[in-house]
């Protein structure tokens, strides 16, 4: 087990390095460089100023030196300064990290809370109207763009409750109730889509397990049906469900980026979109890198979770 974990960790290094190189290169494709962009609107600026700025940012060095400089900074969690606000990128990100994390966790909780019971219910009542309703609702979740769902929610809330997305979000440590009331809607609009795939997976996975011999045995020895479903069927069908929930983490990120925009949540997703709009390249690089690192690490953790969920899996 330890050797497996160590091996997987080592394998992550080239991937993460590749991610860093690609992120670095994508931002170098930009026509002209950051300095030229910054002064493109400013009118006439003397070549001296531009050259000085380039030297200051290290843009006059060969590209591989620039990359190693950048990596050296990244390792120390120093992503340079935002071109837009002139504040350190790390500060900008730290200020918004919490709210996105909270939104992601809320959405994941909502998604699992919807997906697992509904999936089990659909499987137990296979081919009944309950099953059909659940299946249609979950297919719908795949087609409805989460941002549109968010817009519809706001529309409904504005019309029926005179509620509009707040301009400033209250942090959870100040007023948990107020905070949840604000974040529950964006979390729901992301969570619905997120739950759709998981519901379908839970359904098919439970259906499969319900045909196993040990389920028949459990029934034969007179266990209550609820007990059979929860203890025997659900427990044994969780593995593929976990896989899907983790694979769909990518969609969660995507959903967050847009939903934060819709609900005006000042998180990392909104920061990314704003950074692109402002052509704030150091900030974009840092955010793309962080999103991808988190994605890779989450997938790694889920891989390890398999062993906990299913003791039959041995890491050789």
């Amino acid at each position: 087990m330890q050797r497996y974990v160590a091996g997987r960790l080592l394998l992550m290094i080239p991937t993460l390095l590749g991610v860093a190189i690609l992120t670095f290169l994508i931002m170098r494709v930009v026509p002209g460089d950051v300095v030229a962009l910054r002064y493109s609107q400013a009118g006439a600026v003397s070549q001296d100023v531009i050259d000085r700025e380039r030297r200051l940012l290290g843009l006059d060095k060969p590209i591989q030196d620039q990359f190693f400089d950048w990596m050296g900074q990244v390792v120390r969690l120093d992503f340079g300064q935002s071109l837009w606000t002139d504040r350190p990128v790390t500060e900008e990100i730290a200020a918004r990290f919490g709210i996105t994390l909270e939104l992601a966790i809320l959405a994941a909780i909502i998604a699992s809370a919807i997906a697992i019971p509904l999936g089990v219910l659909a499987a137990v009542r296979q081919d009944s109207w309950v099953d059909y309703v659940i299946r249609v609702v979950s297919i719908g979740g795949l087609a409805l763009p989460s941002f549109w769902l968010g817009i519809l929610m706001i529309l409904g809330l504005v019309v029926f409750f005179r509620w509009a997305p707040p301009l400033i979000f209250v942090p959870i440590w100040k007023d948990p109730v107020e905070n949840l009331g604000q974040l529950i809607w964006p979390a729901l609009s992301v969570g619905y889509r997120y739950s759709a795939v998981a519901t379908r997976m839970t359904r098919s996975s439970v259906l499969e397990v319900l045909r196993e011999d040990y389920v028949r045995t459990a029934r034969a020895k007179g266990l209550r049906e609820l007990w059979v479903v929860v203890r025997h069927a659900l427990r044994n069908s969780l593995l593929p469900v976990t896989t899907v929930i983790s694979l769909e983490f990518a969609f969660l990120f995507g959903g967050l980026v847009v939903t934060e925009q819709v609900f005006n949540v000042n998180g990392l997703g909104k920061l990314l979109v704003d950074a692109v709009a402002h052509r704030d390249y150091p900030l974009i690089q840092a955010l793309v890198l962080i999103f991808s690192f988190v994605f890779v690490v989450v997938n790694f953790v889920v891989d390890l979770l398999y062993g906990v969920l299913d003791p039959r899996i041995r890491y050789a």
């Binding site: 080239p14 991937t15 993460l16 590749g18 991610v19 190189i21 690609l22 992120t23 994508i26 931002m27 494709v29 930009v30 297919i139 719908g140 795949l142 087609a143 409805l144 763009p145 941002f147 549109w148 817009i151 519809l152 706001i154 529309l155 504005v158 019309v159 795939v197 998981a198 379908r200 997976m201 098919s204 899907v244 983490f249 990518a250 969609f251 990120f253 995507g254 980026v257 847009v258 925009q261 819709v262 990314l272 979109v273 950074a275 692109v276 709009a277 052509r279 390249y281 974009i284 793309v288 999103f291 991808s292 994605f295 890779v296």
Partner: protein, 299 residues
Amino acid sequence: MTAAEDPARLRYLEETRLRRARSAVLDFIRRRPLGVAGAVVIVVMVFAAVFADVVAPYGPQEGTFSGLPEPPSLQHLLGTDAFGRDVFSRLLYGSRTALLVGFSSSLVGSTLGLILGVVGSYFGGKTDEIIERFMDVLISFPLVVIAIAVIAALGPGTTNVIAAITLPVIPRVARVVRSSGLAVVRMPYIEAARSVGVRAPRIMFRHMVPNVFAPYLIMLTAFLGQAVLLEATLSYLGLGVVEPEPAWGNMLRGQGMQFLDQAPWLAIAPGVAISLAVFGFNLFGDSLRDALDPRLRAA
């Protein structure tokens, strides 16, 4: 005279192929009503896109500035936006954008994935290893994040959106094609072709590609819906197709949000269009997957 040169035999083979294709289509229609429903949505969309000039009552940019959106009426079936532009007409023209971006990005992305997957599985060894590591890197970026990164580098606009959506499709298709390719490479007919001296490119093109075509097609259709959704997302964020060019995503942006409580039709109509399109592509893709390869049946 060999079979390949006999015209009668050639004609017979051709007819058999046609008959088989026809019966496969009929079978699909009979056994997969949901897939047919999806296909109908797609056909309607293609029709709307091709004949937008004829069907649309107004031009996409046509209208007089009035400052306030007009509600749906007989003149404007789905109302107008604040610039007085007909929402229904813009939806029709928007389907052009959606289809153009959806088809070209998933076609180019899947085909590049097909090539990489086939080359990797055919040569194996170092080549395969290099391609795989590169795909590992590409797949480590969440879909929306890499698309946004590409837009950040290239800037918004239709062509760049196509590039942004193509890139994340490549590794996902390459993975699937490679795993099918690894099984095909071990087939005796590949060895036979090699032993009579057929060159690698020809083996890959004539013998590998047709045998990994089903997973390729499945991934291609699966990504159609995703690509349409991603284009709408990017355009909604202002990072995709930009005004005044009509796209469903950018119709939701700006005015759709600004006049949300006074003119909800501005936000509802494009959203319905996006959902229907994605729903249609998903239904069709799912059914096609079930028909072509029941083993791939997953979530």
